[in-house]
C-alpha cells in the first residue's frame, strides 16, 4: 500500500491514496464538489466547469475532477470566488435551457434543478432568444430533447465506454453542438437505456416512461430482473399498482447502475392484454374461466385419484420461479406424488462443472470478480448479447484494470474490439485447439476467469477444468445459463437424478423430453413451455403460467401465476449469487406458484407434511438442507447477494450433459416470456421494418 497523501480541503485534514482525484478526496470528508460531467468510472471531461476550486499557489481556479491530490495541497471550496464560479456556471447553463421543468420527466430528480437550488441564482439575466431545436425520437425507447441537454457527454461515454456500442456521438460545434445517434436520425444499439438513466437532465427520456408520472408519486421496490441469468437488481417504480419504470440509480445490487433493455423496460409483460387473470378449466374441449376453488379442487382431486390408482406423474419446473417454489415443488413431487419424474429445461451443464471442481474451493467467480480478474476467457457465448451484465463487467475490468480478454467462439463478438486475442472456433475440438494456442499467454496471466456456454458440456467441462488447472495460476469458472433462476432450479433439485444440493436422488426419473413424450397420467408444468411445437401425450395436463403458452393451451387446468415482480422469494443467478425478490405489485387473479402449490397441498390434505408455504419458511428449510444456502438472513434482507457453493464433492450420478441446451437469447429475446414484452417487440419490429 503506497503512502497516503495528506491535504486539506476547507480546513479539513484529508488522507487519500496517490492518484485520487480531488473531487473524490473531498467526498471522503463529506464535502460535495458539484459536477455534471464528472462520472465515476467514465473518462474525464472537465467540460462542465462546475467543480472549480481554489488551490493554494495556483493562479486560476482548477477543476477538482482532473486534479489529483498532492502532498500538502491546500484546497478551498467555500470561498466567494468558488461560489461565484458555480453560480454563474449555472447561469450560463440555463441561458439556452428551456426551463420546461413542469412538463419534464426529470423534474424532481434533475441534477440541474438540484444544483440550481443549491448553488445557482434565483433569476437569470438572459433576456435574448434561446436556441431551440425540436425533439427527436432516436429509437422506440430513446427520445432526445436537445434544448434541455447540457452537453456533459455522460451518455456518449456510457454508450462508448460502458457499453462498447459507440452509438452516440456529438455533431456540430459551439452552441449548436448536439448529441447525435449513430444512424443519422435514429439509433441502432443495445437499447439499454443507460444513456437515459445517466442523463443528469431531461434531455434523453425513455419512450416507456415519458409523461407517465411525476417521479415523487412513485414507490420504489428493489426486484431482481426476471429475464436473463445475470441477476441484475432493477428498482421498479410503481404507482397505483402499476409498474411505471425500471432503473437502478442507487447502484445497489450486483449490477450497480447497469441494466440492459430487459431489466429496464421488459417488466412490461405484466399487464399484457393476454395476461391470465383467472384459472381456466377445459369444459367440452374449451378452456373456460373458473374460480380458484373450482380449479384447485379439480387438480387436487385428479392428483389424489392418480396417486390412489398408482398412476404416473411428470413435473416440469421453471427457470424463472423462485428457489422456494422450486424447492417446494420438488418436495411435493417427491414427497406427495412419489415420483422422481421432475426436471426443468437445463440451459448449461452446471452439474458437470460442480463435479469437476470437486474438492476445490474458491473456483466459482462472482459478478464482482469479473471486474477484478486480471484475465478473462470467454468460450462460445456472445456475451454482450446473452449476458449483458457480465459483458459490461468485463469491459469495465478492461478499461479500469487493463484486463486481458480472450474470446474463443464461432462468431465475431463485441469482446473482439478490445481482446488480447480472439479466435474463431466452431466446435469443442476447435475450442481446445484454440486453448492450446493460447496456453502460453494464459500461463503468463496472474489469474484467469473462464466463462463457457452450452457448447462445452459433459466431458468437455472436465477437460476445460483440467486445462484451467494445468495453467498453474488461480482460475475461476462461470457456467453460463439462460434465465433468472436457471441456477436455482438446478440447486433446488429440479432434476430427476438429483435432489436439492446435488445429492443423488436414488432411482432416477424421466427428464423433460421423456416426460413430454410419455403417456403419463398427469403432467404438471409450472412456469415452463415444454410443449412448444409438440402435442401433449399425458392424459391430464396442469399448467401454471402467466400466459396461455403453447403448453397452457393444451392443458386441462390452467392456473394463472404471478410473475417475479409480484411475489417474494429468492433467485440464484448465473454466478450462484442468491438475491431476494420483493413484491412490487399485485396482479388481480394471479397467485405466486408457491401459494398455488401450497393450496394444492391443503386441498389434498398433505399441508402438514409439506410444511408452511410462506417464502421465509421455505427458505429456512432450504438454509437447513441445501449446501451453499447457509446465507445469513441479514445479508439477504439487506438486498445483498451471497455466493452459493452448493456442492463440494463428486456428484455420484450419471451426468446428462446432452440435456443442456441454451436458447441463446439475444438482447431483445427472453424465451417464452419475452414474447409478451411490448418494448422488446417494438424494438424487434423497428429493426425488421428498416
Amino acid at each position: 500500500m503506497p503512502d497516503l497523501i495528506h491535504l486539506t480541503i476547507d480546513g479539513h485534514p484529508i488522507e487519500a491514496a496517490p492518484g485520487t482525484l480531488l473531487i473524490n478526496a473531498a467526498k471522503t470528508a463529506g464535502l460535495e464538489i458539484p459536477a455534471f460531467c464528472y462520472y465515476d468510472g467514465l473518462s474525464l471531461q472537465a467540460a462542465c466547469r462546475m467543480c472549480l476550486v481554489e488551490i493554494e499557489k495556483m493562479p486560476k481556479l482548477m477543476t477538482a475532477c482532473t486534479q489529483t491530490v498532492a502532498e500538502g495541497m491546500v484546497v478551498r471550496t467555500d470561498t466567494p470566488q468558488v461560489h461565484a464560479a458555480r453560480k454563474y456556471m449555472l447561469e450560463f447553463l440555463l441561458t439556452n435551457h428551456p426551463l420546461d421543468c413542469p412538463v419534464c420527466d426529470k423534474g424532481g430528480e434533475c441534477e440541474l434543478q438540484d444544483m440550481t437550488f443549491r448553488y445557482g441564482v434565483g433569476e437569470s439575466r438572459f433576456t435574448d432568444e434561446k436556441v431551440h431545436t425540436p425533439e427527436k425520437q432516436f429509437s422506440p425507447v430513446v427520445f432526445f430533447d436537445a434544448p434541455r441537454c447540457i452537453l456533459c457527454y455522460r451518455c456518449v461515454r456510457v454508450c462508448n465506454e460502458g457499453m462498447g456500442v459507440n452509438a452516440l456521438g456529438v455533431i456540430n460545434r459551439g452552441v449548436v453542438s448536439e448529441i447525435s445517434p449513430n444512424k443519422g436520425d435514429h439509433l441502432e444499439c443495445d437499447e439499454c437505456g443507460m444513456c437515459i438513466d445517466i442523463c443528469p437532465v431531461g434531455a434523453l427520456t425513455s419512450g416507456a416512461y415519458r409523461y407517465q408520472t411525476r417521479p415523487w408519486e412513485m414507490t420504489h421496490v428493489g426486484a431482481i430482473c426476471t429475464h436473463c441469468a445475470d441477476g441484475c437488481k432493477t428498482t421498479l417504480g410503481t404507482r397505483n399498482g402499476q409498474i411505471i419504470r425500471g432503473n437502478n440509480r442507487d447502484r445497489s445490487g450486483i449490477n450497480g447502475e447497469f441494466l440492459c433493455i430487459k431489466g429496464r423496460y421488459a417488466f412490461d409483460f405484466y399487464n399484457h392484454a393476454e395476461r391470465l387473470q383467472s384459472p381456466l378449466a377445459r369444459v367440452d374441449g374449451k378452456l373456460i374461466e373458473v374460480s380458484w376453488s373450482q380449479a384447485l379442487s379439480a387438480v387436487a382431486r385428479k392428483f389424489g385419484d392418480t396417486i390412489s390408482a398408482g398412476g404416473s406423474f411428470g413435473v416440469v419446473g421453471s427457470n424463472l420461479t423462485t428457489n422456494e417454489e422450486n424447492y417446494y415443488l420438488q418436495k411435493f413431487a417427491r414427497g406427495v406424488l412419489k415420483t422422481n419424474n421432475i426436471d426443468h429445461h437445463r440451459t448449461g451443464d452446471v452439474v458437470s462443472l460442480l463435479d469437476a471442481l470437486s474438492g476445490k474451493s474458491g473456483k466459482l467467480a462472482t459478478v464482482a470478480d469479473l471486474y477484478e480478474a486480471k484475465a478473462v476467457l470467454v468460450l462460445g457465448a456472445d456475451l454482450a448479447l446473452e449476458h449483458p451484465l457480465l459483458s459490461y463487467q468485463i469491459r469495465a475490468d478492461y478499461r479500469h484494470h487493463q484486463a486481458h480478454v480472450y474470446a474463443v467462439g464461432p462468431h465475431p463478438v463485441r469482446e473482439d474490439n478490445y481482446s488480447a486475442a480472439s479466435i474463431r472456433a466452431a466446435s469443442a475440438a476447435e475450442y481446445f485447439a484454440a486453448l492450446e494456442n493460447l496456453r502460453e499467454k494464459l500461463r503468463a496471466e496472474a489469474d484467469l476467469t473462464i466463462l463457457f456456454d452450452d457448447s462445452v458440456k459433459g466431458a468437455g467441462v472436465a477437460k476445460l477444468v483440467d486445462f484451467g488447472e494445468s495453467l498453474g495460476i488461480p482460475v475461476k469458472y462461470v457456467c453460463l445459463l439462460d434465465y433468472s433462476n436457471s441456477r436455482g432450479a438446478a440447486d433446488m433439485g429440479l432434476m430427476p437424478e438429483l435432489l436439492p444440493g446435488y445429492r443423488p436422488a436414488g432411482e432416477t426419473g424421466l427428464h423433460v423430453d421423456e416426460m413430454t413424450e410419455a403417456p403419463l397420467d398427469v403432467l404438471w408444468v409450472v412456469g415452463a413451455n415444454p410443449l412448444e411445437g409438440r402435442a401433449r401425450k399425458a392424459s391430464f395436463l396442469v399448467v401454471q403460467d402467466l400466459f396461455l403458452t403453447e403448453t397452457a393451451r393444451q392443458a386441462d387446468i390452467v392456473l394463472p401465476a404471478a410473475s417475479a415482480y409480484e411475489k417474494e422469494g429468492t433467485v440464484t443467478n448465473v454466478t450462484g449469487e442468491v438475491q431476494r425478490l420483493r413484491r412490487a405489485i399485485s396482479v388481480m387473479g394471479a397467485k405466486a406458484d408457491l401459494e398455488i402449490i401450497g393450496f394444492l397441498a391443503r386441498e389434498m390434505g398433505v399441508a402438514a407434511a409439506m410444511g408452511p408455504w410462506t417464502p421465509n419458511a421455505v427458505f429456512e428449510e432450504i438454509r437447513a438442507n441445501v449446501r451453499g444456502y447457509e446465507i445469513p438472513p441479514a445479508v439477504l434482507a439487506t438486498g445483498g447477494a451471497a455466493q452459493s457453493m452448493p456442492v463440494n464433492g463428486r456428484i455420484p450420478v450419471e451426468s446428462r450433459p446432452e440435456l443442456a441446451h441454451s436458447d441463446h437469447n439475444g438482447l431483445f429475446a427472453s424465451g417464452t416470456l419475452g414474447r409478451y414484452s411490448k418494448v422488446l417487440g417494438s424494438v424487434l419490429e423497428g429493426r425488421l421494418s428498416r
Binding site: L44, Q45, A46, A47, C48, R49, L52, K60, L61, T66, A84, A85, Y88, M89, E91, F92, L93, T95, N96, R125, F126, D128, E129, V131, I150, L151, V170, N172, R173, G174, V175, V176, S177
Partner: protein, 437 residues
Amino acid sequence: MLYNEPSPLETRVLSRRFGLPNSASIDTYLATEGYQAFRKAAGMKPDDIINEVKVSNLRGRGGAGFPTGMKWSFVPRTSPKPKYIVVNADESEPGTCKDRVLIENDPHQLIEGILIAGLAVDAHAGYIYVRGEYRYLIEVLEKAIAEAYAKGWLGKNIQGTGFDFELYAHSGAGAYECGEESALLESLEGKRGIPRIRPPFPAVSGAFQCPTVLNNVETFCAVPPIIRDGGAAFAALGVPKAGGTKMTCLTGNINKPGVYELPLGFPVMKMIEEVGGGIPRGRKLKAMIPGGSSCPVLTAEECRDATMDYDSMASRKTMLGSGGVIIMDDQTCMVKAALRIMRFYAHESCGWCIPCREGTTWLRKILTRFHNGGGTQTDIGLIADVSKNMLGRTFCPLGDAAAMPTISIVEKFRDEFEAHLEGRPCPYEHAEHLVTV
C-alpha cells in the same frame, strides 16, 4: 508572391529571403546559407541545440509566448516511443497573417527549423498542420518537401549525417480552435478539434500519444538563424527576456498594411507612424489591438510609450500575442468592433465547455441587440460581467480570448456604449446599415 514593400526600419532575419527571385525554391535557399544551420546542428549534442535556443530567449510566436528552449527540454528523450515535431500553421487569430508569408516566401527555412528540432529531441517525423483556408500553401509545402527529399534534405540519412526525418503537410478544414495545440493534435488524429485535458502536455504525450514538440511556424523559422549565428546574436536583437524579431502584421486602419519583421521592443507609435505610414484619411488613432483579436485593446493614450514586447504589453494588461496588430481609427465604432470579435468567438467556440459555449453566444446576442439600438443601461455592466464570468474558467484559452478584448472595450470605451442607448443609432454609421449577424 505575397509580399509587401519592406520597410527600412525592419530587422530582416526570418524574412531575409523575401523578395529574392524564386525565394521559395531550394536552390535560392541553398544559395543563401540555407540548411547550414542544420549541418551545424547535426554536429552538436541535442542538449547544446536546446541550450542555444534557450540562450536566444526565443519565445513561442503563436501567441502564448512560452520559452521555446524550455518547451523542447520537456521532451523525455529516453522515452522508447517515437517523437514527433508538429508545426502549428493553423494561423487563425484575426489580425494575423505572418505564417502564411513565411511559408509562401521561404518554406525551406521552416523545414530546416523542423529538422533542427528533430535533432534536438530525437524526432524523426513531423507534420505541418496548415489551416484549410491556406490550401495553396499545402501545394507550396509539398513542392518544397519534394525538393528537400530530392536533394537529400529529408528522408533517410540526411546529407550523410545518419539522421532520418519524414515530413508531411496536413490540411485542416476550418476551425480556429485547432490553433490551440491540444485541439490541433486531436484534429491531426482525425477527430473533432476539442482540446485535451492537460497535463499531460504535448511534450510528454502529444501526437499519437507520443512525445511531441509543437510550435508555431514563426518559432521554427527562427531556429535556423539562431543555430547559424548563435543564440546570443538573436537574443541581442530583442529586449531582455525576449530575444529576436517578431513578424508583425499591420492591419486595420493603416496606410501601409503589411507584414514587417521588427525587433522585439520596437516602439508602437513608431511602428504605426513610420513603418505603417500612419492612419489614412488624416484620422487619429483610437485604439490598437497588439497581437490578434484575443488581446485586450489599448487606447491611443496607452499606445504612446508602449513597445512591442511581452513585458511592455503585460504592464499594460494586454499581450504581444501573435503579432497581429489591429489599428482602429477615430471613426471606428467600438461596440461594433466588440460585436464582430464576439461573433467570431461564438462561431469558433468548440462547444466543449459550458462557459465558453454559452458565454460567447450570449455576449454575441447582447452585443448584436445593443449595436442595433436595443441595449439598456444594465446591458453595459452585463457585457463586462458575463465576460468576466468566462474569464479563467473555461477549458481552454478560447474563453479568455473572447472575454479579454470585450472587457477591455467596455472598460475603456464605456461612453461609446452609452451613446448607443435609448434606441439611438450607431453614431458611426447610418441607421439602416447594420452588421448582419
